[in-house]
């Protein structure tokens, strides 16, 4: 196998990690809708860390290795329309994804605050933070942008 083939393999594996992380956060979003105590909220934190690692490594890997491939692979250039479209979609997805993270860090902070104050029972405020509508919309948008990148990668319009 050539270096480019290894880079392509890790580019695809990065995409799997990125999508895997998005799926993980969908599960946590749905599960979190019933979490009204600090314990229920904080219990998900280690799983969320796995998701953060998957999205971080996946997003970084897809972009950096994708740029490498565009520059190195014969027949493709960085300024090809479909590659520019994919990079623009990636930037939009990353921007929306970071705003999603801000929404879902709020219940974790609140849960820690309640826990440190010795309040272990149900909290309406915590439940409302876990049920953030804005967070769901942002994660939905981020997922659709990721799906659009996948469509562009497969169809390669204009290539």
């Amino acid at each position: 196998m050539s270096l480019d083939e290894w880079v392509l393999a890790f580019h695809v594996l990065s995409a799997f990690a990125f999508f895997g992380g998005l799926v993980l956060f969908w599960v946590l979003i749905v599960a979190g809708r019933n979490a009204d105590t600090p314990d229920d909220t904080l219990r998900m934190e280690p799983v969320a860390k796995v998701g953060n690692a998957a999205v971080g490594v996946g997003a970084g890997g897809t972009l950096l290795l994708g740029i490498w491939l565009a520059l190195s692979y014969g027949g493709y250039d960085l300024w090809d329309g479909w590659i520019i479209a994919a990079i623009v979609l990636w930037i939009a997805s990353a921007a929306v994804g970071s705003r999603t993270g801000v929404e879902y860090i709020k219940p974790l902070h609140k849960a820690r605050e309640l826990s440190e104050a010795g309040q272990t029972g149900p909290s309406a405020e915590l439940l409302a933070l876990n049920r953030t509508q804005r967070g769901v919309v942002l994660h939905g948008a981020s997922s659709l942008l990721a799906l659009a990148i996948l469509v562009v990668m497969i169809w390669k319009p204009g290539a």
Partner: protein, 152 residues
């Protein structure tokens, strides 16, 4: 040869490929989520149930979608009659089918485990589900590598 064939695939393979890849990516995410949730449950019945139901309700359907998408591509243009005889397709089929069997065994064990949670049992069975999920996850990584790198 197979790499060239994949690089110049006809446009009408794109949608089945999207179905296959998207199914595989969601299956990967579901197995990652299920295994992580089971691993970090620390005995919490609620979290053990979440891990199991993620594998069953997200992982299993997406696995089927991945498998169907793969067979859809394979059946196009008569590839069933003229099979692509290469390591990467062999790895893909091995993971989809042998891995699928392991995944279903894990789901059966986990299903029994979840039923026993009410009686404060079943945690060992769910650990077995987690272990099988990690093996399946490793298989999916190898399959994704093989599908992309296409070793002969």
């Amino acid at each position: 040869m197979t790499g060239v064939l994949a690089a110049i695939r006809p446009d009408d393979w794109n949608f089945p490929l999207l179905v296959h890849v998207l199914g595989a990516m969601v299956a990967f995410g579901a197995v990652l989520t299920g295994a992580s949730t089971l691993a970090f449950a620390r005995g919490s019945a609620q979290q053990l149930r979440l891990g199991y139901w993620t594998l069953l309700l997200v992982g299993l359907p997406s696995w089927v979608v991945m498998w169907l998408g793969g067979h859809w591509i394979y059946s196009k243009k008569g590839l069933v009659a003229r099979p692509i005889d290469s390591a990467w397709t062999t790895i893909g089929f091995a993971v989809a089918e042998a891995g699928g069997v392991l995944f279903v065994i894990g789901l059966i064990l986990g299903g029994i485990g979840v039923r026993k949670l009410d009686a404060d049992g079943g945690r060992g069975l769910l650990k077995a589900t987690m272990a099988l999920s990690l093996i399946v996850l490793a298989g999916l990584v190898v399959a994704a590598w093989a599908m992309a790198a296409k070793p002969d």
